[in-house]
Amino acid sequence: MRKYLGNKTAILLFILPALLLYTVVVFYPVVQVFYRSFFDWDGLSEASFIYFDNYIRLFHDHIFYTSLYNSAVFAVIIAIVQITIGTMLAFAVAEVAMRGRKFVRITVFIPVVLSITVVCQLWLAMYNGEYGLINKLFEMLGLHYRQDWLSNKNTAIFALAAVNAWQYMGYHFALLLAGVKSIPESYMEAARIDGASKMKAHLSITMPLLGETYKFCLILAFTGGLNAFANMYIMTSGGPGTTTYTLTYMMFRSAFRVGEFGYGSASAAFLVIECLVVTLIINKLIARDPIVY
């Protein structure tokens, strides 16, 4: 048996395709990002090694700070909105007595399977200052609150975050629902018998037991927020001005618009580290062993 499962030729045949492709297309580029961030390079001609100059320039670039701020705002908004609403909906839908739970479940999840282009185009139309649905809605309610949501530099980043939060809330909802369902009913029953209200029982029993799920949701929301790109690219092009830039957008512009591949790599490298640190912090904050019932 040992020999049977230790067949060297078979092992090589099985692992090589995946290993090669992964190494060349995923792993090698990550190494390249860090390596190239120390060069002055336009992607074509000879690169010249410039030590930490790209990073020094990055830390003096005011767009870098705008990007950091935007990523943070974006990440915090989507994390709060998605996880709060997701939790409430998951608790409600887990209730057998709720009428139409199947319908709610499907409607809430549908935006997740739509393409981000379609979602952004839809919201572009809805946000539109002249004929957008949202302004029309305010008009119908008799409010004079006409706004050009995406061209106003105070509202733009929030408007973008709302779109992302709206689209992927269903994902967090499904994760949390799966978590809630995996908790044995006896826990809840015991709490109810002891006289805890439904709300109280959820707060002190269900939510702590969902620790692992919350950890996953938080990591997802934060890394997703820090990496945000498509929403900005499609809906505002980073504007008005540079007010909705994120690090990814900055990297994209440096490399593919201005031809500064080295500088773009530096922002990408910074982003990798940023995501890593955030993941570690979340892991530290919600440190617990997986629960086996």
Binding site: M1, L5, G6, K8, A10, I11, F14, I15, P17, A18, L21, V24, V26, Y28, P29, V30, Q32, V33, R36, G43, M88, A92, A97, V104, R105, I106, T107, V108, I110, V112, V113, L114, S115, T117, V118, Q121, L122, W123, L124, W166, M169, G170, Y171, A174, L175, E212, F216, I219, N227, F229, A230, Y233, M251, F256, F261, S265, A268, V272, C275, N283
Partner: protein, 276 residues
């Protein structure tokens, strides 16, 4: 029953959110059946009063929608087939076979899950250029396959670990080769997880945006998410047809979800078990 009576407000909020969640989609589908006048002036919110199915004909014939659609199909299908084949082989070797570096190989593969695609855009673009893959289907397919490997491997790994070793022993005693054992004993057993991963990878490939946007410039190679982006500026005059094109683009994933809603939810959330 009592509970529902006690919290009417919660219920109202839930239904309001469900409405908010579905309304934009409803709005898109209904404006795909309207003309500009109805969309902007006479009936912006409700059902189309005189459904104009010719919008779909316009979308299908005058924009490049059939081309984009075909490209999306080709790219997604090839991605699903190859990424899952490679991942399932790799996962088997790591989960069941005995060799010294299997643990290391698995860890190495897992790193990929923590690499956001956007971050390696620059080296990836250069890599595709140097391999002369730019402006061919492969410029999308190769990265898509590679990026799905880590996750698929991990999911399959979990399933393979749950299979009792007796099965392989029996097959070995019966004189089946390791290849035979893999294809006719192990693969059928993990079939449910393969179905799950087909859905996952298909959705990911069909909706992928950043890689397509940065690596594809040729009109004839654009996938739907990319194609839809560029005709907004060009054809703003005909909103109905644009809505129709967006509806067509969303149809495959919507149908997939409505037909297999539970499997899709499981497929997309299977990650919570392995990540984090």
């Amino acid at each position: 029953m009592k509970l529902r009576m006690k919290h009417p407000l919660t219920n109202v909020l839930i239904w309001l959110y469900a409405l908010l969640s579905i309304y934009p989609l409803f709005w898109m589908i209904s404006y795909s059946l309207k003309n500009n006048n109805e969309i902007f002036v006479t009936n912006p919110f409700g059902f189309p009063l005189h459904p104009r199915f010719e919008n779909y004909k316009t979308a299908w014939t005058s924009f490049n929608v059939p081309q984009y659609f075909m490209n999306s199909v080709i790219v997604s299908v090839v991605t699903v087939v190859f990424s899952l084949s490679m991942a399932v082989l790799f996962a088997y070797a790591v989960a069941r076979m005995r060799w010294r570096f299997s643990g290391a190989a698995r860890t190495y593969m897992t790193i990929g899950m923590f690499v956001p695609v956007q971050v390696i855009m620059i080296p990836l673009a250069i890599l595709m250029r140097d391999f002369h893959l730019a402006n061919s289907y492969l410029t999308l397919i190769v990265p898509y396959i590679a990026f799905n490997l880590s996750f698929a491997t991990l999911v399959f790994y979990g399933f393979f670990r749950g299979v009792p070793v007796d099965l392989e022993e029996a097959a070995c005693i019966d004189g089946a080769s390791i290849y035979r054992t893999f294809f006719s004993v192990m693969l059928p057993i993990i079939r449910p997880s393969i179905a799950t991963m087909i859905i996952f990878v298909f959705l990911a490939a069909w909706n992928e945006f950043p890689i397509a946007m940065m690596l594809i410039s040729k009109e004839s190679l654009k996938t739907l998410p990319l194609g839809l982006l560029f005709f907004q500026g060009q054809f703003t005059t005909d909103w109905g047809a644009m809505g129709a094109a967006m509806t067509i683009a969303s149809l495959p994933t919507l149908l997939l979800y409505i037909l297999f809603s539970e499997q899709v939810e499981n497929a997309l959330t299977v990650g919570s078990a392995v990540k984090g």
